[in-house]
Amino acid sequence: MNKLALSDEILMSVDKPARYIGNEINIVRKNPQDVAIRFAMCFPDVYEIGMSHLGIQILYDMFNQREDVYCERVYSPWVDLHKILKEQNIPLFTLETQSPVKDMDFLGITIQYEMCYTNILQILDLSKIPLLANERTEEDPIVIGGGPCTYNPEPLADFFDLFYIGEGETQYDALFDLYKSMRAQGGTRQEFLRAVCKLPGIYVPSLYEVSYQEDGTIASFTPQYADVPPTILKEVQMDLTNTVYPRKPLVPYIKVTQDRVVLEIQRGCIRGCRFCQAGMIYRPTRERDVNMLKDCAREMLESSGHEEISLSSLSSSDYSQLPELINYLIGFKEKGVNISLPSLRIDAFSLDVMSKVQDIRKSSLTFAPEAGTQRLRDVINKGLTEEIILNGAGLAFAGGWQKVKLYFMLGLPTETEDDMKEIPRLADKVARRYYEIPKEQRNGKCQITISTSFFVPKPFTPFQWASMQPKEEYLRRARIVNEEMKEQLNRKSLKYNWHEADVTVLEGVFARGDRRVGQVLRKAYEKGCIFDSWSEFFDNGKWMEAFQECGVSIDFYNLRTRELDEILPWDFIDCGVTKSFLKREWQHALEEKVTPNCKMQCNGCGATKFEGGVCLEHQN
């Protein structure tokens, strides 16, 4: 049994010591002496969140299949341990062998949301790795970033040695082989970076130079050397069936967010909602073969002992073999296995399935209309109509459901006061549908929960040029919704939750920021900002100080409609979807024109160049 990095005294004094001891079921054990490459895989948030992430489980499994690589894990120490590590000068360690992260060859960090950026600095800091890539030496691991936020890696450019743009399945073997051979020849860190930048999907930020115009926009973005690629095409695993998938998932001791088997049934989404980054960057939509999924499900349930399996995808209803897969999974019910079906479109089929796998009285149905009026839903290309929502809710109420959740966004481009007011009105119509059921047939009151978030424009979406709103305006819009809700007939059956706006403002800056916002990040971390996605730790005051002290204007990044010919910080990345398609979609949005989904018609987004998935299924 490994000796732990932390003493009994420390472990007994912190919350949930199980976060730091490793030893989980299906953990991979190797002798570090036997491998050529040691890799620390990091999710920069607390253990319970990080352990729930599928991408890391896929890569952990894939890396460890190589005999010459040992991939270990590291998560953000919670604030209590953070303080102890700092005070007692204990270096951050991996869970598997409890070794210092600094001893690894690579530190890979998955970057899933903007509000984890200070936690990335925490990981580097606690690992005693210089925060700035250009201050690292041969003693330090190569720091790699991956995940959706790397589609605009620029705010983090100073802190990473390289970014892997796109899906992880494809290029890591080549990257490891290159590293191994260069190390064997005594190659330096700098030589490796110069060489690795030629691998597909690899972006080495230090090899590019950015210059700015007087108005603050980017003047040029150029490779420093002729052999450094000027654009980086995202990596994509086209065959999702004959590929790696972890059959033996790690089983944590403490309850984590995804305390279940997660089965990714497909990647990408055919719907083309204009606000949705995932719907653009994961194109083309690719399905996994149903027989592969059945095998995976069975093996993962057997090897983990989990009592629940959840299907994962952006829109499960679009998976072509869904009925067959679900029928197979229902067979596990007698072994006490629950099935969780998020992101299902509500219709007769899904309600029938859900009534078989869930407790109707406890579960709630979720609709995401995203906008209150049909006009605004057309702007964002969200195909959901009021009729579909009311019919779905009607069917659900008739089937015994009483709880409905409705998700909306405020601050979408072109939003008017009417769009806002229609949000509670739509909720009221849903409630009315419930009370149309004769009193003796229904089961008390219904519960309609409205949640709104504030829209943050993301790179590689048709809204990447759009302006955001100031914080006060977001809150004003939430108040309008709240006031209107009080006017509704069924207001006692309605509940309204809205998010804080401070975080939205920061998300906006870091989603579309350039290299110059990195210094704010560092300043904020130095001031003590950490776990910003946790409202109990988020400190907006410190963030505002950091912006001020760095002389970086939030408004420049958030309150400006970008020109269509402006060089955007992420323009050097090619995600398959072309800029001309995004421009066309931005124009269609302003004209309130709907674009059909990929299965109905090819809209020429550019993803056909990957020659697979939905692009080949329904050719016109």
């Binding site: 049994m1 490994n2 732990l4 009994d8 005294e9 472990l11 007994m12 004094s13 010591p17 199980a18 001891i21 490793g22 030893n23 989980e24 079921i25 089983v251 001791y253 403490i254 309850k255 349930l301 057997e302 090897s303 983990s304 002992g305 989990h306 009592e307 072994k335 006490g336 629950n338 407790d359 406890k362």
Partner: protein, 294 residues
């Protein structure tokens, strides 16, 4: 069919709390393909109960959980399936069938044995086990009451530990025979035992009242002991290891009038046998002894 499982917990697993251990076993039982019974209703759960929660940081050689199964392989085969899927630090020691009307281990728990000793770097309880024994006698035999104040959620209560400490003595951890006699199976304690050395590693052996009505944690006794002898006490300064959990020997562990009568008759018979042979009838029975191997 009711099954009582005995397991040990050591190493890093001591940091896994009671509720997480329950979740751990729910999943382990699925992985081992034990044919466990589920409760009725829309969200069925495994029929499983634990004997006595173990504190975080405490290791044990005598943890029990009861499960209900629809069918079962032999004890040996079931233990093998379970042990193949255990995390490092948990080992299944017994898998025994209980009578159909058996009371749960939780309702039977009456006592538990513990081994308590100081970690290196903390104020030792005594230099040798002989000296420790003398201190134990002064503390335990020498006092008719051992009053302590116990902090509960609502208030402070004064309680007398003396009647709740069933046994207290000093031992030397460097004597293999002693460790075997008190039933130590913890691999780390056994590995540290160096028979050939003359060094004496003193430890306290405690048999304490345990259960839902009266419950004494070994930490409470240790704290009182340290205070009595002017030894500085630190909560994280000692190793605590549970050895075994017991039911009262005269507590009838089955339900149903007929079954109870049969058990009571057998109990009397055993008692008479003991009397005839001049052996003292045991006051406690390890929870595992109430089941039989299948």
């Amino acid at each position: 069919m009711n099954i009582r499982i005995k397991f040990q917990k050591y190493g890093v697993m001591k940091f896994i709390g009671h509720l997480d251990m329950m979740r751990y076993f729910q999943k382990a039982i699925r992985r081992a393909d034990i044919d466990i019974a589920y409760s009725e209703g829309y969200s069925p759960h495994q029929i499983m109960s634990f004997a006595a929660p173990l504190g975080v940081g405490v290791t044990s050689d005598g943890e029990y959980l009861d499960i209900e199964v629809k069918s079962s392989k032999s004890s040996k085969a079931s233990m093998q399936s379970l042990n193949e899927t255990m995390a490092e630090g948990i080992t299944i020691l017994e898998y025994r069938k209980l009578p159909d009307t058996a009371k749960t281990s939780m309702s039977l728990v009456a006592a538990a044995d513990y081994l308590v000793y100081q970690k290196p770097g903390y104020c030792p309880l005594a230099d040798t086990s002989t000296q420790l024994q003398a201190k134990v006698e002064a503390f335990y035999e020498g006092q008719s009451h051992i009053y302590i104040t116990k902090q509960t959620k609502k208030r402070e209560i004064e309680m007398d530990l003396k009647p709740l400490i069933y046994e207290m003595k000093a031992i030397n951890l460097n004597q293999k025979q002693t460790l075997a006699r008190i039933g130590v199976k913890n691999p780390q304690i056994l590995a540290a035992c160096q028979e050939e050395t003359t060094e004496d590693t003193p430890a306290l052996f405690l048999k304490l009242c345990t259960g839902s009505a009266d419950n004494v944690k070994p930490e409470l006794v240790l704290e009182a002991f340290c205070r009595f002898h002017g030894i500085s006490y630190e909560p994280s300064g000692s190793y605590i290891h549970r050895l075994e959990v017991y039911a009262r020997a005269d507590d009838i562990p089955v339900k149903g009038e007929q079954e109870r009568q049969v058990y009571a008759d057998n109990l009397n018979h055993q008692r008479e046998l003991c009397q005839q042979q001049g052996i003292e009838f045991p006051k406690f029975l390890a929870l595992g002894e109430l089941g039989i191997d299948i």
